[in-house]
């Protein structure tokens, strides 16, 4: 047999055979279309699932990441230089640079602390929240609660800072009009114990609790 798809009963005449062949061709074409459809749908299904997984992973990564608050300033101080001499800092409050060998214990302080010891706490991954001494009491209480419910938060008043509340981490700072600005929490989430600090996780206790 040279015509595998045509059985003897299906060939009563030449014309009939041609009709049969045409319809056989149509059937074959249909089958080919169906095969192509199966192939196409299979590829589409795989692509869709892979894309969905990739999308989910990216979405979750984005959800996990902290959003650096708008207006965050960046600096480029390298860590670890110690000095017992008073230091004149370029920024107020300072965000890095030479500092005292002793660090400031992370806590709420009702009186100013030494810049040199506070900068050492920044080096250890602390967030130093400074406020203008005339900040309304409710806002001071908000900052105090923050310091007393979290580790690695240092809160103290400081004269001459550019806005009522300024949050600083090593090489990072955000200047805020109020302690209720949501950017404060964003800043804490972004930079508290961040790997950006030269020594994140080094102690923020066992240092000094002295005020000026």
């Amino acid at each position: 047999m040279t015509e595998p798809n045509t059985s003897p009963e299906e060939r009563p005449s030449r014309a009939g055979a041609a009709r049969q062949r045409r319809s056989a061709r149509q059937i074959a074409a249909e089958r080919q279309r169906r095969s192509a459809l199966i192939k196409g749908l299979s590829i589409a299904a795989v692509v869709l699932v892979v894309a969905a997984i990739a999308g989910f992973v990216l979405y979750q990564r984005q959800q996990n990441a902290s959003t650096i608050p708008e207006g965050t300033l960046s600096f480029t101080y390298a860590g670890a230089q110690h000095s017992t001499d008073p230091v004149t800092y370029t920024e107020n409050p300072p965000v890095g640079g030479v500092h005292n060998p002793t660090w400031q214990n992370c806590a709420y302080y009702p009186a100013p602390v030494a810049n040199e010891t506070a900068v050492h706490s920044l080096e250890h991954g602390a967030i130093w929240i400074t406020y203008q001494p005339d900040l309304p009491q409710e806002q001071i209480d908000t900052l105090r609660t923050l310091a007393e419910s979290q580790s690695y938060i240092l809160v103290s008043p400081l004269d001459g800072i550019p806005t009522p509340v300024v949050a600083s981490a090593w090489n990072r700072q955000v200047q805020l009009e109020s302690a209720d600005d949501p950017r404060l929490d964003q800043f804490v989430r972004s930079f508290r114990l961040s790997p950006e600090a030269p020594e994140p996780g080094a102690a923020c206790g066992g240092g000094t609790s002295a005020t000026l």
Partner: protein
């Protein structure tokens, strides 16, 4: 009958012969196998805990809890004349600082910040604003700072027993709820060590209190 030779000369079948059914369904089969493989990998892959996971919450909160234990132990160590208290506080400082480092390391590896978006202890069903249970108030820390000798020892023991008593249930919650081997191992170590230390500290405190009554 038609001569087979004449039939062969008719220009037919430019289409390929019909493939057997298994060949036609091969792409679908391959796709199914591939999807099953992807699903299996996805299901068994060790994924980093998410930002709101029990593991992340435990690491963050236990770091804060441990941080105060280290602070109090350092204060007591600087104030004691008792070699037993010196050893105990040295042990607490070094052990708990090491554990803080492990937990901060996890968070870094998981790509998570050390500060969560949810309140403390939300991961264990007890969202807490302000100080977590067992934590000493700033006033209690200030009191400890102002004491010396046996009085400082006793105050430290009182604060530290309470601290551990609240730390153990937190570690137990992680042990019950987490399938992460590293998290479970550390949680188990914390439960075991702190339960033993609570008893040891209660005994030390009883000695300090009776010594205090005698003098």
């Amino acid at each position: 009958m038609i001569d087979p030779a004449s039939l062969a000369s008719v220009p037919v079948a430019p289409e390929r012969p019909r493939p057997p059914p298994f060949r036609r369904w091969l792409p679908a089969l391959l796709a199914l196998i591939l999807l099953a493989a992807i699903a299996a990998l996805w299901a068994t892959a060790e994924r980093a805990p998410s930002d709101t996971s029990l593991e992340a919450g435990f690491a963050r909160d236990m770091m804060v809890h441990h941080d105060q234990a280290v602070t109090m132990a350092l204060l007591a160590r600087d104030r004691t004349d008792d070699p037993l208290i010196r050893t105990l506080t040295t042990d607490i400082v070094l052990t708990q600082q090491n554990q803080i480092g492990q937990m901060l390391g996890w968070l870094n590896l998981w790509g998570l910040p050390a500060t969560g978006r949810e309140p403390a202890m939300a991961w264990m069903g007890h969202p807490t604003t302000g100080r977590m249970p067992g934590m000493a108030s700033p006033e209690e820390i200030a009191t400890l700072e102002g004491l010396a000798g046996t009085a400082a020892d006793a105050e430290f023991l009182r604060l530290m027993i309470r601290h551990h008593q609240a730390g153990v249930p937190m570690a137990e919650a992680a042990l019950t709820g987490s399938g992460n081997p590293a998290v479970r191992a550390l949680a188990r170590q914390i439960v075991t060590a702190q339960e033993i230390e609570i008893v040891a500290m209660q005994n030390l405190l009883a000695e300090k209190d009776s010594a205090g009554e005698e003098t």
